[in-house]
Structures are given as structure tokens and as C-alpha cells.
């Protein structure tokens, strides 16, 4: 007690709860492969079949015991009723029931001991063959639809061959059954089964399918069908194999290896051959289908042909022409429309020229020219006329002046001008007028001829007079 605290303290770091501990133990045990699928032999005691369906019991030998449980899902397939005192071989795994901290054996399968050894062999072989892949689904071959030759490996005297023959004859007499006789129990059985299979393979005319089987029996009786040799022979079979061993509940290695497992020999035969009634029906159906297909085809073609025939272009081919005729009519009407166009256009243009020409008034041109010319003429005349008038004026002015300036104007006042006899030279000096000189005297109203009577004297009177003025 005193040490307790220290112990507790020492363990302080690794303290776990009970639940945790049990879980740890459980995990440890379950992870050990030697506790998985182990085969254990012992005697049943304290057997209880609970209402839940689970079986609870203790497995013991002379010196030891272990608690065991077989759940309902497992024990439902048991082919015997376990009871106290019964020696059995169980297959199961060890685990911990964590509520109670009890380890126990969880039983998957159970066989009565004695045959228990066989059972172990069965399991081992099954595992072996399974690991080789012989049970794989993809190895399973389909059965021929219409087998001509059906090989059967079984006892020539058993019910199996009889059931098969009856079924085949009833369903499909076309198939021939070839029996390879074999022992179906006893120590020689496996050998004869293998031989039967080989015989059937090596026939000159090979079989299409093989049925191998026997009637129901104990595990020991069915044992030849669990033999490795038989299983391997079935696996090697070049044709599909149907196994029909025992009753429905009996499962043999053969059943695993075979392409198809049949519950019974009759079922095997039914699987292997079709029923003639079904075939007759199938044939009638095929016949009907072919017929309706071919009639439908002819009908379809007929309809297609009719449809084509009814296409407007074939039914009333004049349409082909009608369209073209419309085109011709159309072109013709356009042509008619266009008929007058060129002349009409030309006419319009010509009329336009005519009207433009009509507007051109050359007459007016002439009249204008005439006016212009008349104007020019008038101006010429006026110009000349004015010149003449102007010149006349100027001349008249000169003339007026000249009139006043006439040197002979004095004559009007009584003067006279003395000219020589010829009336050319004016003689204004006495010395030019010696007596006897013939002279002309110009007076106001004319000229007289005279002769100087006497020489003149110097006379200054004239000068004086002039000065007076």
C-alpha cells in the first residue's frame, strides 16, 4: 500500500484507462496473423444457442479452455447441431471482447472432429486453388447453346446418369450423351473421375460440354470431388464443365472450379440443353420476324416507289415545261414592252432637239445685228455731221473775223487804193506815181482806171490826220 503512490507515480506517464488498455490488447491480438483464421480442435461445453441466433460456448481440451462465439450469420450454414461434449474443429479468429476484458474465439466455421481433418484439407485446397485464380469468374466459359455431344462423368449405375438422360431426351434429343463411367466415392474415385474427364476430351469426336457429378452424401462420400487432382482436371478441361455434386447445400471444390455449378443432375442437364419447345417457339419467331421484315421491306420499297411516282414532277411532267413557258411569256412581254422603247427614246430626244432648235431665234440674231449696225451707222453719220458742223463753225468764226479785218474795208469810208495798171501792185508812194502812170483805183464799190496827171509833192497831211486820230 505504501509503495502504491510511488508505483502510481512511476506509472504516471503511461496511465491508461481500462477501456484503453482493453482496446490496446484487442489491437495487438487482432494484428497478429497467427490469431486469424486459425484452426482449433476441442470439445464443446456450456453450449448456448441464444434467441438472437448467436451461439456461445466454451472450447476445451484436457488442460485448457477458451470462450467461443459463433454469430448467427455464420452458424446458419452449419450442417450439424453442435452440442455439449461434441468434439469439433473450428475456424476462427481470436479477439477481445472489450466490455469484459475477455479474449475469445470468434468462430467462422465449425466441423465435427474426425471429418474435421478433411475439412481442414478442404479449406487449404480451396485457398490454394483460389490463390491460383482457378475460381475466377473470367475463367468461367459459357455453355454451348446447342450441344451435340454431352459428356457425363459419373457412376453408370447411379441416379445421376438416369436423371440426365431423361432430361436430355425430354428436352433436346438432338444431343447425344456420352457417359464416361467413374467411381464417385471411395479411394479410387478421384482417379476414375480424372480418367473419365480425360476420356471425354480425347474422343475422336469431342464432346461440347461435360457434366461431372454424383448424388448427395456425407462429406466423406463427397470427398473425391474435393480432391486436387479432380479439381485440376476440371480446370484443364478444354470444354465447359458443369458440376452437379450432392445436394444444393453440398459445396465441393469441383463446384468452385467448374464453369457452372448445378444444384442437381437434372438441373445440370437443363442448364446444358435447350428445350425443344422453346426452340420451336424460337424458330417460329425467327420465321415470323424474317417474314415480317421482308414484307415490310417490300412494302417500304413499294411506298418509296409510290412516293417517288407521286412527286409532282413525275406525276405531272408538264410542269417542267410550264415554268419555261412562263419564262418565255415573261420575256416576250418584256420584249413587247421594250418594243417601242428605242423609238420612243429616240423620238423624245429628237423632240428635245427640235424644241431647243425652235428656241434658237436666228431672226432675233439678225434683228439685233441690224440694230447694232444701224446704231453704228447712225453714230458714224452723227460723228461726221458733228465734225462738219464744228468745222463750219470754226470756219464761220474765221470768216467773221476776216470780214472785219478786210484791209479794203476802209474803202467804205471813202478811201481808195491805188494799184498799178494791172491792178496787182499797190502804189502808195508818190515816187511810184509819176505823171502819166496808168493806174487803177479801187474804191468802195469798184475799180476805176486812171492816169496820173501830175507828179505829186510831199504831203504830210495824211500823216497829220493819222496822228490826229
Amino acid at each position: 500500500m505504501n509503495e502504491m503512490p510511488t508505483t502510481v507515480e512511476q506509472q504516471q506517464a503511461t496511465v491508461v484507462t481500462v477501456t484503453e488498455l482493453n482496446l490496446m490488447i484487442k489491437r495487438r491480438i487482432e494484428s497478429d496473423p497467427s490469431f486469424v483464421q486459425c484452426h482449433v480442435s476441442g470439445e464443446i461445453s456450456n453450449f448456448k444457442h441464444h434467441t438472437s441466433g448467436h451461439m456461445y460456448f466454451t472450447l476445451k481440451d484436457e488442460t485448457s479452455r477458451i470462450r467461443a462465439v459463433m454469430f448467427a450469420g455464420r452458424n446458419r450454414r452449419l450442417r450439424f447441431r453442435p452440442e455439449d461434449g461434441m468434439r469439433v474443429i473450428v475456424i476462427g479468429s481470436v479477439s477481445v471482447f472489450d466490455r469484459d476484458g475477455q479474449y475469445q474465439l470468434y468462430v467462422d466455421d465449425m466441423q465435427p472432429d474426425g471429418i474435421g481433418a478433411l475439412y481442414v484439407r478442404f479449406e487449404q485446397l480451396r485457398n490454394q486453388l483460389q490463390s491460383e485464380g482457378l475460381f475466377r469468374a473470367d475463367r468461367k466459359r459459357p455453355l454451348p447453346a446447342f450441344p451435340r455431344r454431352i459428356g457425363v462423368v459419373t457412376s453408370p449405375t447411379g441416379a445421376v446418369i438416369r436423371d440426365i438422360c431423361t432430361t436430355v431426351e425430354r428436352r433436346y434429343p438432338l444431343a447425344k450423351v456420352i457417359l464416361a463411367p467413374a467411381q464417385v466415392q471411395g479411394p479410387e474415385a478421384a482417379k476414375t473421375l480424372v480418367r473419365g474427364l480425360r476420356q471425354l476430351w480425347s474422343l475422336e469426336e469431342p464432346v461440347d460440354v461435360i457434366i461431372i457429378g454424383r448424388g448427395g452424401g456425407s462429406l466423406e462420400e463427397l470427398w473425391p470431388f474435393n480432391e486436387e487432382a479432380v479439381a485440376r482436371a476440371i480446370a484443364q478441361s478444354p470444354v465447359p464443365v458443369v458440376s452437379a455434386v450432392g445436394h444444393e447445400t453440398d459445396v465441393t471444390i469441383c463446384d468452385y472450379v467448374a464453369d457452372v455449378r448445378a444444384a442437381t443432375p437434372t438441373a445440370a442437364a437443363e442448364l446444358v440443353v435447350p428445350h425443344r419447345r422453346d426452340l420451336a417457339l424460337q424458330l417460329s419467331q425467327a420465321n415470323m420476324r424474317a417474314q415480317s421484315a421482308v414484307y415490310a421491306l417490300v412494302r417500304t420499297y413499294g411506298q418509296a416507289l409510290s412516293r417517288i411516282e407521286q412527286r409532282p414532277v413525275l406525276e405531272s411532267p408538264l410542269r417542267l415545261v410550264a415554268v419555261q413557258r412562263q419564262s418565255v411569256d415573261y420575256l416576250e412581254s418584256r420584249l413587247r414592252e421594250a418594243l417601242r422603247r428605242p423609238t420612243r427614246l429616240a423620238d423624245k430626244r429628237l423632240q428635245m432637239f427640235e424644241s431647243r432648235l425652235a428656241r434658237i431665234d436666228l431672226h432675233q440674231h439678225v434683228v439685233r445685228s441690224r440694230h447694232r449696225m444701224d446704231g453704228l451707222e447712225g453714230r458714224v453719220r452723227e460723228s461726221l455731221r458733228r465734225t462738219v458742223i464744228r468745222m463750219n463753225g470754226q470756219l464761220d468764226k474765221h470768216i467773221g473775223k476776216l470780214e472785219a479785218l478786210n484791209p479794203l474795208g476802209v474803202l467804205r469810208r471813202g478811201y481808195g487804193v491805188v494799184y498799178d495798171a494791172n491792178g496787182v501792185k499797190i502804189l502808195s508812194k508818190v515816187k511810184d506815181l509819176p505823171a502819166g502812170t496808168r493806174i487803177q483805183i479801187r474804191v468802195e464799190d469798184g475799180t476805176v482806171k486812171a492816169e496820173v496827171i501830175s507828179d505829186g509833192t510831199d504831203d504830210r497831211v495824211g500823216e497829220q490826220i493819222r496822228l490826229d486820230i
Partner: protein, 85 residues
Amino acid sequence: MEQTTESENKFDLTFEGAMARLEEIVRKLESGELPLDESIRQYQESMQLVKFCREQLDKAEFQLEQLSIEHAQADANGSGEVEGA
């Protein structure tokens, strides 16, 4: 001689060729682009083309009608057999 040439011309002429030519002439006439005398020549030609096309169409219709009748008769015989069979 002109007549002969035309006839030969028509001989080589197809309906479609004639229609195309016609269309062309109509278009030209409608456009008013042709010289006056050319217009008349073209118009003259177009009239002949119309005539030629109409003749071709009549001929075609006749042929189609014949074929259609022949076929209808053959059909009548044929279908008679089938229905009788």
C-alpha cells in the same frame, strides 16, 4: 440564203441558249443602248427566238405527254397483273 442560215443556226441552238440570247436582247432593248437600226434587227431576232423557244416547248410537251401516256398504260397493265396475282 438568210433563211437557211437561220435554220442551221436554230439547229445548233438549244432552248436554254435561245432563252439566254433572248434575255440578253431584251435587256439591251430595255436599256435603250442600242442604235435604232440595231434595235430593229435585235427585235427581229428576238421574235424568231421566241418562236423557236415556243416550238421547243411544244415539242417537249408533246414528248412528255407521250411518255406519260405510255407509262400510264404500262402501269395499268402492270398493276393489273399485280393485283390479279
